[in-house]
Symmetry: C2
Protein backbone atom coordinates (compact mmCIF):
# COMPACT_ATOMS: atom_id res chain seq x y z
CA UNK A 1 0.00 0.00 0.00
CA UNK A 2 2.63 2.49 1.05
CA UNK A 3 4.84 1.70 -1.94
CA UNK A 4 1.98 2.06 -4.34
CA UNK A 5 0.95 5.35 -2.76
CA UNK A 6 4.51 6.67 -2.89
CA UNK A 7 4.89 5.62 -6.49
CA UNK A 8 1.66 7.39 -7.37
CA UNK A 9 2.55 10.56 -5.51
CA UNK A 10 5.94 10.74 -7.12
CA UNK A 11 4.28 11.65 -10.42
CA UNK A 12 3.85 15.23 -9.20
CA UNK A 13 6.49 17.44 -7.64
CA UNK A 14 6.43 18.24 -3.92
CA UNK A 15 5.85 21.91 -4.81
CA UNK A 16 2.81 21.06 -6.90
CA UNK A 17 1.54 18.76 -4.17
CA UNK A 18 1.86 21.55 -1.58
CA UNK A 19 0.05 23.94 -3.94
CA UNK A 20 -2.82 21.46 -4.32
CA UNK A 21 -3.10 20.91 -0.58
CA UNK A 22 -3.23 24.65 0.05
CA UNK A 23 -6.05 25.02 -2.46
CA UNK A 24 -7.97 22.12 -0.89
CA UNK A 25 -7.77 23.71 2.58
CA UNK A 26 -8.85 27.07 1.17
CA UNK A 27 -11.90 25.44 -0.37
CA UNK A 28 -12.58 23.51 2.81
CA UNK A 29 -12.63 26.75 4.80
CA UNK A 30 -14.87 28.39 2.23
CA UNK A 31 -17.56 25.74 1.76
CA UNK A 32 -17.02 22.97 4.34
CA UNK A 33 -16.44 19.28 3.72
CA UNK A 34 -19.88 18.26 2.54
CA UNK A 35 -20.15 20.95 -0.12
CA UNK A 36 -16.57 20.54 -1.35
CA UNK A 37 -16.45 18.78 -4.73
CA UNK A 38 -13.60 17.26 -6.72
CA UNK A 39 -14.80 19.45 -9.61
CA UNK A 40 -14.14 22.56 -7.54
CA UNK A 41 -10.70 21.29 -6.53
CA UNK A 42 -9.88 20.50 -10.16
CA UNK A 43 -11.03 23.97 -11.27
CA UNK A 44 -9.23 25.83 -8.49
CA UNK A 45 -5.97 23.98 -9.10
CA UNK A 46 -6.25 23.64 -12.89
CA UNK A 47 -5.92 19.86 -12.61
CA UNK A 48 -8.01 17.16 -14.22
CA UNK A 49 -10.33 15.22 -11.97
CA UNK A 50 -8.74 12.04 -13.34
CA UNK A 51 -5.38 13.16 -11.97
CA UNK A 52 -6.86 13.92 -8.57
CA UNK A 53 -8.53 10.53 -8.34
CA UNK A 54 -5.43 8.74 -9.61
CA UNK A 55 -3.18 10.47 -7.09
CA UNK A 56 -5.40 10.39 -4.02
CA UNK A 57 -8.15 7.87 -4.60
CA UNK A 58 -10.99 10.18 -3.57
CA UNK A 59 -12.18 13.24 -1.71
CA UNK A 60 -11.77 11.86 1.85
CA UNK A 61 -8.15 10.87 1.23
CA UNK A 62 -7.33 14.14 -0.54
CA UNK A 63 -8.83 16.28 2.23
CA UNK A 64 -7.19 14.36 5.06
CA UNK A 65 -3.79 14.32 3.31
CA UNK A 66 -4.12 18.09 2.85
CA UNK A 67 -4.87 18.50 6.57
CA UNK A 68 -1.95 16.31 7.55
CA UNK A 69 0.38 18.18 5.23
CA UNK A 70 -0.64 21.50 6.77
CA UNK A 71 0.16 20.33 10.26
CA UNK A 72 3.83 20.74 11.02
CA UNK A 73 3.37 17.94 13.52
CA UNK A 74 6.10 15.75 12.11
CA UNK A 75 6.61 14.84 15.73
CA UNK A 76 8.85 11.92 14.84
CA UNK A 77 11.41 14.34 13.45
CA UNK A 78 11.63 16.24 16.74
CA UNK A 79 14.37 14.91 19.03
CA UNK A 80 15.60 17.50 21.53
CA UNK A 81 17.02 15.04 24.04
CA UNK A 82 14.28 15.49 26.66
CA UNK A 83 10.57 14.76 26.79
CA UNK A 84 9.80 18.28 27.96
CA UNK A 85 11.83 19.66 25.08
CA UNK A 86 10.11 17.41 22.55
CA UNK A 87 6.61 18.30 23.76
CA UNK A 88 7.36 22.03 24.01
CA UNK A 89 8.84 22.03 20.52
CA UNK A 90 5.78 20.24 19.24
CA UNK A 91 3.51 22.84 20.87
CA UNK A 92 5.51 25.69 19.37
CA UNK A 93 5.82 24.65 15.72
CA UNK A 94 2.60 26.45 14.72
CA UNK A 95 2.17 30.11 15.48
CA UNK A 96 -1.07 31.02 17.25
CA UNK A 97 -2.82 32.15 14.09
CA UNK A 98 -2.04 28.91 12.23
CA UNK A 99 -3.03 26.90 15.29
CA UNK A 100 -6.42 28.60 15.48
CA UNK A 101 -7.07 28.04 11.77
CA UNK A 102 -6.02 24.39 11.99
CA UNK A 103 -8.06 23.90 15.13
CA UNK A 104 -11.19 25.16 13.36
CA UNK A 105 -10.51 22.91 10.36
CA UNK A 106 -9.80 19.85 12.49
CA UNK A 107 -13.02 20.36 14.43
CA UNK A 108 -15.04 20.76 11.23
CA UNK A 109 -13.45 17.63 9.79
CA UNK A 110 -13.96 15.61 12.97
CA UNK A 111 -17.61 16.64 12.93
CA UNK A 112 -18.13 15.80 9.27
CA UNK A 113 -16.49 12.42 9.81
CA UNK A 114 -19.28 11.31 12.11
CA UNK A 115 -21.74 11.23 9.22
CA UNK A 116 -19.19 10.19 6.56
CA UNK A 117 -17.76 6.72 7.21
CA UNK A 118 -15.22 7.06 4.36
CA UNK A 119 -13.96 10.33 5.81
CA UNK A 120 -13.83 8.77 9.29
CA UNK A 121 -11.72 5.90 7.94
CA UNK A 122 -9.35 8.24 6.09
CA UNK A 123 -9.19 10.55 9.12
CA UNK A 124 -8.14 7.65 11.33
CA UNK A 125 -5.78 5.89 8.94
CA UNK A 126 -4.05 8.93 7.48
CA UNK A 127 -4.10 11.39 10.38
CA UNK A 128 -4.89 9.96 13.82
CA UNK A 129 -2.85 6.74 13.53
CA UNK A 130 0.30 8.33 12.10
CA UNK A 131 0.17 10.97 14.86
CA UNK A 132 -0.34 8.30 17.51
CA UNK A 133 2.67 6.41 16.17
CA UNK A 134 4.79 9.54 16.30
CA UNK A 135 3.72 10.18 19.91
CA UNK A 136 4.64 6.59 20.68
CA UNK A 137 8.15 7.20 19.33
CA UNK A 138 8.53 10.34 21.45
CA UNK A 139 7.40 8.37 24.52
CA UNK A 140 9.62 5.40 23.71
CA UNK A 141 12.66 7.67 23.55
CA UNK A 142 11.69 9.17 26.94
CA UNK A 143 11.48 5.64 28.40
CA UNK A 144 14.81 4.67 26.78
CA UNK A 145 16.46 7.75 28.32
CA UNK A 146 15.11 6.74 31.74
CA UNK A 147 12.92 9.86 32.02
CA UNK A 148 9.66 7.93 32.24
CA UNK A 149 9.14 4.58 33.96
CA UNK A 150 8.29 1.91 31.37
CA UNK A 151 5.18 0.90 33.36
CA UNK A 152 3.93 4.47 33.96
CA UNK A 153 0.17 4.21 33.42
CA UNK A 154 -0.07 7.69 31.85
CA UNK A 155 1.99 6.60 28.81
CA UNK A 156 -1.04 5.02 27.20
CA UNK A 157 -2.94 8.30 27.58
CA UNK A 158 -0.44 10.73 26.05
CA UNK A 159 -2.64 11.29 22.99
CA UNK A 160 -5.83 11.65 25.07
CA UNK A 161 -4.08 14.31 27.17
CA UNK A 162 -2.65 16.31 24.27
CA UNK A 163 -5.61 16.05 21.89
CA UNK A 164 -8.10 16.44 24.75
CA UNK A 165 -6.58 19.75 25.84
CA UNK A 166 -6.62 21.00 22.29
CA UNK A 167 -10.19 19.82 21.66
CA UNK A 168 -11.76 21.19 24.84
CA UNK A 169 -10.00 24.55 24.94
CA UNK A 170 -12.49 26.44 22.77
CA UNK A 171 -15.56 25.02 24.46
CA UNK A 172 -14.39 25.50 28.04
CA UNK A 173 -12.51 28.77 27.82
CA UNK A 174 -14.09 30.50 24.84
CA UNK A 175 -10.56 31.02 23.59
CA UNK A 176 -8.64 29.24 20.83
CA UNK A 177 -5.76 26.95 21.73
CA UNK A 178 -2.52 28.92 21.78
CA UNK A 179 1.14 28.07 22.30
CA UNK A 180 0.90 29.63 25.76
CA UNK A 181 -2.03 27.43 26.70
CA UNK A 182 -0.40 24.23 25.41
CA UNK A 183 2.96 24.97 27.10
CA UNK A 184 1.14 25.64 30.37
CA UNK A 185 -0.92 22.44 30.02
CA UNK A 186 2.18 20.34 29.29
CA UNK A 187 3.87 21.58 32.48
CA UNK A 188 0.73 21.45 34.65
CA UNK A 189 -0.76 18.15 33.51
CA UNK A 190 1.18 16.05 30.99
CA UNK A 191 4.64 15.98 32.57
CA UNK A 192 3.44 15.56 36.20
CA UNK A 193 1.16 12.71 35.10
CA UNK A 194 4.20 11.05 33.52
CA UNK A 195 6.32 11.68 36.61
CA UNK A 196 8.70 14.03 34.78
CA UNK A 197 9.98 17.14 36.65
CA UNK A 198 9.02 20.36 34.91
CA UNK A 199 12.12 22.31 35.83
CA UNK B 1 -32.85 35.09 36.54
CA UNK B 2 -32.62 32.02 38.74
CA UNK B 3 -35.66 33.00 40.77
CA UNK B 4 -37.72 33.64 37.69
CA UNK B 5 -36.67 30.32 36.15
CA UNK B 6 -37.52 28.46 39.36
CA UNK B 7 -40.88 30.13 39.61
CA UNK B 8 -41.67 29.18 36.02
CA UNK B 9 -40.57 25.60 36.40
CA UNK B 10 -42.60 25.11 39.56
CA UNK B 11 -45.77 25.21 37.48
CA UNK B 12 -45.21 21.59 36.43
CA UNK B 13 -44.41 18.68 38.68
CA UNK B 14 -40.89 17.17 38.76
CA UNK B 15 -42.36 13.91 37.41
CA UNK B 16 -43.91 15.69 34.45
CA UNK B 17 -40.67 17.60 33.86
CA UNK B 18 -38.68 14.34 33.81
CA UNK B 19 -41.20 12.84 31.38
CA UNK B 20 -40.82 15.82 29.05
CA UNK B 21 -37.02 15.67 29.16
CA UNK B 22 -37.06 11.95 28.35
CA UNK B 23 -39.25 12.61 25.32
CA UNK B 24 -36.98 15.42 24.13
CA UNK B 25 -33.91 13.18 24.29
CA UNK B 26 -35.75 10.41 22.46
CA UNK B 27 -36.62 12.85 19.69
CA UNK B 28 -33.08 14.19 19.65
CA UNK B 29 -31.70 10.67 19.11
CA UNK B 30 -34.26 10.01 16.39
CA UNK B 31 -33.92 13.14 14.25
CA UNK B 32 -30.97 15.19 15.53
CA UNK B 33 -30.97 18.77 16.79
CA UNK B 34 -31.55 20.62 13.53
CA UNK B 35 -34.62 18.58 12.54
CA UNK B 36 -36.16 18.59 16.01
CA UNK B 37 -39.16 20.93 16.22
CA UNK B 38 -41.14 22.28 19.15
CA UNK B 39 -44.23 20.97 17.33
CA UNK B 40 -42.85 17.44 17.51
CA UNK B 41 -42.03 17.84 21.21
CA UNK B 42 -45.53 19.16 21.87
CA UNK B 43 -47.11 16.26 19.99
CA UNK B 44 -44.93 13.59 21.59
CA UNK B 45 -45.57 14.91 25.10
CA UNK B 46 -49.19 16.04 24.60
CA UNK B 47 -48.26 19.56 25.69
CA UNK B 48 -49.10 22.86 24.08
CA UNK B 49 -46.31 24.70 22.36
CA UNK B 50 -47.25 27.76 24.44
CA UNK B 51 -46.49 25.78 27.61
CA UNK B 52 -43.13 24.66 26.27
CA UNK B 53 -42.11 28.18 25.33
CA UNK B 54 -43.37 29.60 28.62
CA UNK B 55 -41.47 27.02 30.67
CA UNK B 56 -38.21 26.89 28.75
CA UNK B 57 -38.01 29.93 26.51
CA UNK B 58 -37.10 28.01 23.36
CA UNK B 59 -35.69 24.91 21.71
CA UNK B 60 -32.02 25.44 22.66
CA UNK B 61 -32.86 25.86 26.36
CA UNK B 62 -35.29 22.92 26.36
CA UNK B 63 -32.79 20.59 24.70
CA UNK B 64 -29.87 21.58 26.91
CA UNK B 65 -31.97 21.36 30.10
CA UNK B 66 -33.06 17.88 29.00
CA UNK B 67 -29.41 16.88 28.48
CA UNK B 68 -28.40 18.28 31.84
CA UNK B 69 -31.29 16.52 33.57
CA UNK B 70 -30.24 13.20 32.03
CA UNK B 71 -26.71 13.48 33.35
CA UNK B 72 -26.46 12.28 36.92
CA UNK B 73 -23.50 14.63 37.22
CA UNK B 74 -24.80 16.46 40.26
CA UNK B 75 -21.16 16.54 41.21
CA UNK B 76 -21.76 19.14 43.88
CA UNK B 77 -23.87 16.61 45.79
CA UNK B 78 -21.01 14.09 45.89
CA UNK B 79 -18.85 14.43 49.01
CA UNK B 80 -17.02 11.22 49.88
CA UNK B 81 -14.28 12.82 51.97
CA UNK B 82 -11.49 12.37 49.41
CA UNK B 83 -10.81 13.72 45.93
CA UNK B 84 -10.20 10.22 44.56
CA UNK B 85 -13.51 9.10 46.06
CA UNK B 86 -15.37 12.09 44.63
CA UNK B 87 -13.94 11.61 41.12
CA UNK B 88 -14.45 7.84 41.14
CA UNK B 89 -18.04 8.27 42.30
CA UNK B 90 -18.61 10.79 39.56
CA UNK B 91 -17.22 8.38 36.96
CA UNK B 92 -19.45 5.57 38.23
CA UNK B 93 -22.85 7.24 38.43
CA UNK B 94 -23.76 6.30 34.86
CA UNK B 95 -23.64 2.68 33.78
CA UNK B 96 -21.71 2.04 30.56
CA UNK B 97 -24.80 1.89 28.40
CA UNK B 98 -26.10 5.25 29.64
CA UNK B 99 -22.63 6.74 29.31
CA UNK B 100 -22.37 5.67 25.69
CA UNK B 101 -25.80 7.06 24.87
CA UNK B 102 -25.06 10.34 26.62
CA UNK B 103 -21.65 10.56 24.97
CA UNK B 104 -23.25 10.26 21.53
CA UNK B 105 -25.85 12.90 22.40
CA UNK B 106 -23.30 15.29 23.85
CA UNK B 107 -21.13 14.99 20.78
CA UNK B 108 -24.07 15.59 18.46
CA UNK B 109 -25.10 18.61 20.52
CA UNK B 110 -21.57 20.02 20.70
CA UNK B 111 -21.36 19.68 16.93
CA UNK B 112 -24.73 21.31 16.27
CA UNK B 113 -23.79 24.18 18.59
CA UNK B 114 -21.00 25.28 16.26
CA UNK B 115 -23.53 26.37 13.64
CA UNK B 116 -26.24 27.44 16.12
CA UNK B 117 -25.15 30.40 18.25
CA UNK B 118 -28.30 30.18 20.44
CA UNK B 119 -27.62 26.52 21.15
CA UNK B 120 -23.96 27.31 21.87
CA UNK B 121 -25.01 29.96 24.38
CA UNK B 122 -27.53 27.66 26.08
CA UNK B 123 -24.99 24.81 26.03
CA UNK B 124 -22.44 26.99 27.81
CA UNK B 125 -24.74 28.73 30.26
CA UNK B 126 -26.91 25.77 31.24
CA UNK B 127 -24.52 22.84 30.94
CA UNK B 128 -20.80 23.67 30.74
CA UNK B 129 -20.76 26.47 33.33
CA UNK B 130 -22.80 24.64 36.00
CA UNK B 131 -20.55 21.59 35.57
CA UNK B 132 -17.44 23.74 35.82
CA UNK B 133 -18.77 25.28 39.02
CA UNK B 134 -19.43 21.86 40.49
CA UNK B 135 -15.91 20.72 39.61
CA UNK B 136 -14.62 23.88 41.28
CA UNK B 137 -16.45 22.92 44.48
CA UNK B 138 -14.98 19.41 44.39
CA UNK B 139 -11.51 20.89 43.92
CA UNK B 140 -12.02 23.52 46.63
CA UNK B 141 -12.93 20.81 49.12
CA UNK B 142 -9.78 18.89 48.15
CA UNK B 143 -7.71 22.02 48.77
CA UNK B 144 -9.50 22.68 52.08
CA UNK B 145 -8.73 19.11 53.21
CA UNK B 146 -5.07 19.65 52.34
CA UNK B 147 -5.09 16.97 49.63
CA UNK B 148 -4.15 19.38 46.84
CA UNK B 149 -1.80 22.36 47.14
CA UNK B 150 -3.75 25.59 46.62
CA UNK B 151 -1.27 26.72 43.95
CA UNK B 152 -1.17 23.41 42.07
CA UNK B 153 -1.22 24.44 38.39
CA UNK B 154 -3.33 21.43 37.35
CA UNK B 155 -6.35 22.71 39.33
CA UNK B 156 -7.30 25.11 36.55
CA UNK B 157 -7.29 22.21 34.07
CA UNK B 158 -9.51 19.73 35.91
CA UNK B 159 -12.35 20.18 33.40
CA UNK B 160 -10.01 19.99 30.38
CA UNK B 161 -8.63 16.70 31.74
CA UNK B 162 -11.99 15.10 32.50
CA UNK B 163 -13.93 16.35 29.46
CA UNK B 164 -10.92 15.85 27.18
CA UNK B 165 -10.62 12.17 28.10
CA UNK B 166 -14.31 11.68 27.53
CA UNK B 167 -14.31 13.59 24.24
CA UNK B 168 -11.25 11.94 22.68
CA UNK B 169 -11.96 8.34 23.74
CA UNK B 170 -14.13 7.39 20.75
CA UNK B 171 -11.88 8.98 18.17
CA UNK B 172 -8.60 7.60 19.51
CA UNK B 173 -9.62 4.15 20.68
CA UNK B 174 -12.66 3.36 18.55
CA UNK B 175 -14.39 2.48 21.79
CA UNK B 176 -16.97 4.39 23.80
CA UNK B 177 -16.03 5.92 27.15
CA UNK B 178 -16.72 3.42 29.95
CA UNK B 179 -16.48 3.48 33.72
CA UNK B 180 -13.35 1.33 33.46
CA UNK B 181 -11.70 3.80 31.11
CA UNK B 182 -12.57 6.83 33.23
CA UNK B 183 -11.43 5.20 36.50
CA UNK B 184 -8.16 4.22 34.84
CA UNK B 185 -7.68 7.74 33.44
CA UNK B 186 -8.39 9.35 36.82
CA UNK B 187 -5.68 7.22 38.47
CA UNK B 188 -3.20 7.48 35.61
CA UNK B 189 -3.54 11.16 34.72
CA UNK B 190 -5.83 13.34 36.84
CA UNK B 191 -4.68 12.46 40.37
CA UNK B 192 -0.92 12.35 39.55
CA UNK B 193 -1.23 15.73 37.82
CA UNK B 194 -2.82 17.10 40.99
CA UNK B 195 -0.15 15.50 43.19
CA UNK B 196 -2.65 13.17 44.90
CA UNK B 197 -1.55 9.58 45.69
CA UNK B 198 -3.71 6.96 43.97
CA UNK B 199 -3.53 4.35 46.70
Amino acid sequence: MTEVATARRSRITPEREAELYTAVLELLREVGYDALTMDAVAARTRSSKATLYRQWGGKPELVVKAMRHSKPGRIGGIDTGSLRGDLRTLASVEDDCTMERNSDLMRALAMASHSNPDLMRAFKELLIEPEMNEFKQVMQRAVDRGEVEPDCPAIQYIVHMMVGAFATRTLIDEAPPTQGFLLSYIDAVVLPALGVPTS
